[in-house]
Subunit: 223 residues, 2 copies
Amino acid sequence: MTTKLYTYWRSQAAFRVRIALALKGITAEKVTLDLLKGHQNAAEYRALNPGMVVPTLIDGDGPPLVQSLAILEYLDEEYPKPPLLPADIRARAHARALAQMVAVDAHPFIVPRVRKFLEEKIQLKEKKRVEWVRHWLDEASRAVEEALLRDPRTGIFCVGDAPTIADICLVAHFASVKLFGARDISQFPIAQRIFTACMALDAFAGEHPLHQPDAPAGGEERV
Amino acid sequence: MTTKLYTYWRSQAAFRVRIALALKGITAEKVTLDLLKGHQNAAEYRALNPGMVVPTLIDGDGPPLVQSLAILEYLDEEYPKPPLLPADIRARAHARALAQMVAVDAHPFIVPRVRKFLEEKIQLKEKKRVEWVRHWLDEASRAVEEALLRDPRTGIFCVGDAPTIADICLVAHFASVKLFGARDISQFPIAQRIFTACMALDAFAGEHPLHQPDAPAGGEERV
């Protein structure tokens, strides 16, 4: 069975799915798209992914799978071991909520199509675009740290002692925080500790944006 | 057991949870917050919801539940009948993806804290803020229509012939499209047909933003 992932090195959403595939031990062929060059808008990609965003996962003969959070749930249902969600219903809700606090409340604001719109339609200068990106990253970092601080379920990882979708989204978020020069992760000590615990695992570290075949040599680029 | 929902009339996220509760036949006490007045930033609300966003669901003695998409999954796991997701794994992924095409790729851009940031920090005039809101609503409307058009699983509802989280998010999205005067839903005929099918159900129609206790008389306000 062929598994194929359409990915972009710096995309948080693609990073999430790469981590999940690695945790599940699934090898996927990577097809890289350059979002800054608009590869995602090509007709043949749009036929797979009408949102014209990464990632898209092709897993065997079924239709293309889109939207990273939906793909994480798919992978967890189709390949249950190791689980990416706790067993307890309220703990599952907590893991999903932590994931969404960064993936829904911050990540959408920093993606290429939004930065492009701010630049071209709103005529926002680079300094203001950087302020925009960092603001939403910072807000979500603060919120997720606060949630981790007060919740008794916080363990070695975000919810207990095994990685879940919350850790996957947290790591992708803080990778962006570093790449975009937002507030240093040391300001968020629990998140930092969990980030470090995750990055000690090959499934997380090996799929880091800067280790991707399409990452630029310097790892930095304009916002 | 007490069930309490912190809600705001125009919030898509709160609307989604109201629909899900209604579909499940769960009665919740509604606590309304005025997001434009900053009620969500009060210390006592932040203690429940560190993201300082609506909705928050209190369901019995457990900790507060936050993030609307996580709450929908919680409700479906805790109260399985009627299901809000199909049984088939790939169909579940499709329902979640359609939900996220509007809830993740458009909704975050139009919430009060983002419009406030655009106004106060970016000094964007109202005309440009309206353009911003409508652009992201239009993009997601187009994407979801395209996904519905090409997928053989599209039925009376988004995925088959029973409402799922995809329909919940689609209805909340198009309610915003109407409230914000974005491109008319008739431009998206399949979405329009499904929206109409949903609004024929009490669980959807009865929880519409304009039927909420905190909705203003005219139903319109500035962006």
